[in-house]
């Protein structure tokens, strides 16, 4: 069972624009305006806008749920309760948001006036734009592009560039080093990431996330034949979304707050939020590519989106677990892990995928 988002919103928009507003306009003898509002192009544009809004709101809600989940679970891992603001600590995010909202917006004197405000816009915008390609179920998605896997990973590739710009433009030594680290680390980890995705694409024969999930529903979850690729993908993804143990760009022990040291106020809040948005997209990719997406017993009443969210939260739990148990890795060690360990593993995984495909087992 799934919600057909486009059909629902399209129907609603049609009902509103043609049946309600159109009738009123007809009654006012504004026939031309009613016709224009009811034309397919206008309906299409309004539908797209409404769907985009819904996807953005849902994505943000899931992201702040991830923040809440991390606060609570990390607290349990560390033998404490976690946040307690509101019922189950659910209001902590809102308290934080209001706090950063009233903070002063400071631009350092020596900062680059053009790039300094631009970098967070780029980071936040790109992070939110990633919601576009993530399908929650067969019907609940923004775009079902044939290249949605590539599109998502390409948007991931913009982030280190923006981080480097932000760190550089702040004109601060800590932020500069943080930005450089982000660029080096994220660029390096994109190679094993893409290789492990390539193995999935080889087996499923499609670059569309919907098709990948459909293939897994019919055959087998990709985690079974490609267990190596699954592990490589998870580790690379932790690095890609810059979380412990790979949160070098904002290593707070030695670089104060890394590349984001000079950003304060709501900019900091939104950058923080966008990190969790990327964490949501990253966990979703793991769930979609390897864990069967929304595949699961629905018994006709359980929504498919629920299965997808459940798997996504489970993957994020692994991220939280890693954060609770591991220290931060050093710059040279992180590249060492990437080039000398993950890359050969990803290559082996790709060979396995090609082997399976040529043998025709999957």
């Amino acid at each position: 069972m799934y919600l057909d988002l486009w059909g629902l919103v399209g129907g609603l928009v049609h009902w509103l624009m043609v049946d309600i507003v159109g009738t009123i306009l007809d009654w006012l003898h504004l026939y031309a305006l009613a016709d224009w509002l009811g034309s397919p192009g206008v309906l299409q544009i309004v539908t797209i806008l409404v769907v985009a809004l819904i996807i953005l709101i849902v994505g943000m809600l899931v992201s702040i749920t991830l923040i809440w989940q991390e606060r609570k679970m990390l607290g349990r891992f560390m033998d404490r309760v976690g946040t307690q603001v509101g019922p189950f600590g659910l209001f902590q995010n809102f308290a934080d948001a209001f706090k950063v909202l009233v903070k002063e917006y400071i631009v350092p004197n020596a900062a680059d006036r053009l790039i300094y405000p631009l970098a967070p816009i780029l980071i936040i915008g790109v992070s939110m734009a990633m919601f576009v390609t993530i399908p929650y179920s067969q019907g609940f998605y923004m775009s079902d592009s044939d290249l949605s896997v590539i599109l998502t990973l390409a948007m991931f590739g913009v982030i280190p560039f923006a981080v480097l710009l932000g760190g550089w433009a702040s004109n601060n030594k800590y932020t500069l080093i943080g930005g450089m680290r982000a660029a080096a680390q994220t660029c390096a980890y994109e190679v094993p990431l893409l290789l492990s995705v390539a193995s999935v694409v080889v087996l499923t024969g499609s670059l569309s996330l919907n098709d990948v999930v459909a293939y897994q529903q019919e055959n087998v979850w990709m985690v079974v034949p490609l267990i190596i690729g699954f592990l490589v993908f998870i580790i690379s993804m932790i690095s890609e979304i810059e979380r412990v143990p790979f949160d070098l760009p904002e290593a707070e022990a030695e670089l104060v707050e890394g590349w984001g040291t000079e950003y304060g106020g709501m900019r900091f809040g939104l950058i923080m939020m966008s990190e969790y948005a990327r964490a949501f997209v990253g966990s979703s990719l793991v769930a979609l590519l390897f864990l069967g997406g929304w595949a699961g017993p629905t018994f006709g009443i359980i929504p498919e989106g629920l299965w997808f969210l459940l798997k996504m939260f489970l993957v994020f739990t692994i991220f939280i677990w890693a954060r609770a148990a591991l220290p931060r890795v050093r710059t040279d060690q992180i590249l060492h892990i990437c080039w000398k360990r993950l890359l050969p593993l990803a290559a082996i995984n790709l060979f396995i995928a090609v082997f399976f495909k040529t043998m025709g087992w999957f």
Binding site: I177, A251, A253, E254, A324, L326, P327, R328
Partner: protein, 361 residues
């Protein structure tokens, strides 16, 4: 990238206290370093010259927030030597026991700090959780959590309260289990070892020449522990072994401190066994000290702490000089971090267990 100087401090998460490690980096590699201290200088040694001997005890507590008891202890030992006072046997045991409890508490504070330095908050919270138990023990014994004002010239202030020994034994049993947990969390974790092994190497010869003492020296394989080499109080009557490690690196320093916590538990247990069940805990002492000099030193959790007191026949010391172990270690800290990466600075310097109160005085 061109070489540049970076200030790590005085307001920086890496510095546990108020000091500045200036490092010159070439990319991520440190090519030069320069420790700058003195931000927390309060003129302690001058202040105590205008206070009488009993008033200095709480001042000595404030030399270090982590191990305040050992500092008042070494002060009392120095003045006792000046006044030529013999401390009762039971007081000696209580002092040694408090020393070891303080060592555990201080090492737990260090462990908490090293957790955040390495980027893991779990270690921080576990260590502070366990330190709380030892602070509770001290609260029951002395009435304060951090600055105890407990040691007295000629003994200790009061005897242990009812049920304190029972609580102590329970805490030690619990803490030994927690030590195994730390072993599983840190020692057996590949990533933690990667962040510690082979860093901050300093050969035993250099370590001795730099005047470094305490766990850092023992981590270089040198058998030097004042509890063994120059026993004070009752340490010569106890059966314990010195914790050393041959690594000379950050991992060795970590291991030595962890082993010392276990050893301190054993020492406290043995003290409980051998302690006289009753007897005086304090002797009467004169208010004035004779003219002359006296020196006392002891094994602080961070190294060899020493106090040198000059009396002039009045109720106030003419001069009281402090030898802080960390002042010496920090003087050599630039040699430890040269050649390593920026990310190693917190882990190498965190292993020294920095406390600026005693360093700057």
């Amino acid at each position: 990238m061109a070489e540049m100087w970076i200030n790590m401090g005085p307001q920086h998460p890496m510095t546990h206290g108020l000091w500045n490690m200036r490092i010159k980096v070439d990319g991520e590699t440190i090519v030069d370093a320069e420790p700058v201290i003195g931000y927390l200088h309060r003129g302690w040694e001058k202040m105590v010259e205008d206070r009488n001997y009993i008033q200095i005890i709480p001042m000595a507590d404030r030399l270090c927030y982590g191990s305040s008891f050992t500092w008042s202890h070494v002060y009392c030992m120095a003045v006792e030597k000046l006044m030529d006072i013999e401390v009762p046997e039971r007081a000696k045991y209580i002092r040694a026991m408090s020393d070891e409890l303080q060592r555990i508490g201080n090492h737990l504070m260090w462990l908490a700090a090293i957790g955040t330095d390495l980027g893991n908050l779990t270690v921080f919270l576990y260590a502070t959780r366990d330190r709380e138990l030892f602070l509770d023990l001290f609260t029951a014994l002395t009435g304060a959590r951090m600055t105890y004002n407990y040691c007295r010239i000629g003994g200790v202030r009061n005897d242990s309260p009812a049920n304190w020994v029972r609580d102590l034994e329970r805490t030690l049993d619990y803490f030994e289990k927690r030590l195994k947990e730390y072993d599983m969390l840190i020692d057996q974790s590949k990533l933690f070892r990667m962040r510690m092994e082979g860093l901050g190497y300093m050969s035993p010869k250099d370590t001795i020449n730099a005047g470094i003492t305490g766990p850092v020296l023992r981590a270089a394989g040198v058998k030097q522990d004042l509890r063994h080499n120059d026993p004070y109080e009752i340490y010569d009557e106890l059966d314990w072994h010195m914790c050393t490690h041959d690594g000379c690196d950050t991992w060795a320093r970590y291991r030595v401190r962890m082993m010392e916590m276990q050893e301190s538990v054993n020492i406290v247990r043995e003290c409980l066994k051998k302690m006289p069940k009753d007897g005086p805990i304090r002797v009467k002492t004169p208010r004035t000290a004779p003219a002359g000099t006296a020196m006392a030193r002891m094994e602080d959790p961070r190294g060899e702490s020493l106090m040198y007191v000059v009396g002039d026949g009045t109720g106030k010391p003419y001069r009281l000089s402090v030898r802080s172990p960390l002042f010496v270690i920090l003087s050599a800290s630039d040699k430890l971090i040269k050649g390593s990466k920026i990310a190693d600075v917190p882990s190498i310097l965190g292993m020294l267990d920095v406390c600026m109160g005693e360093t700057d005085r």
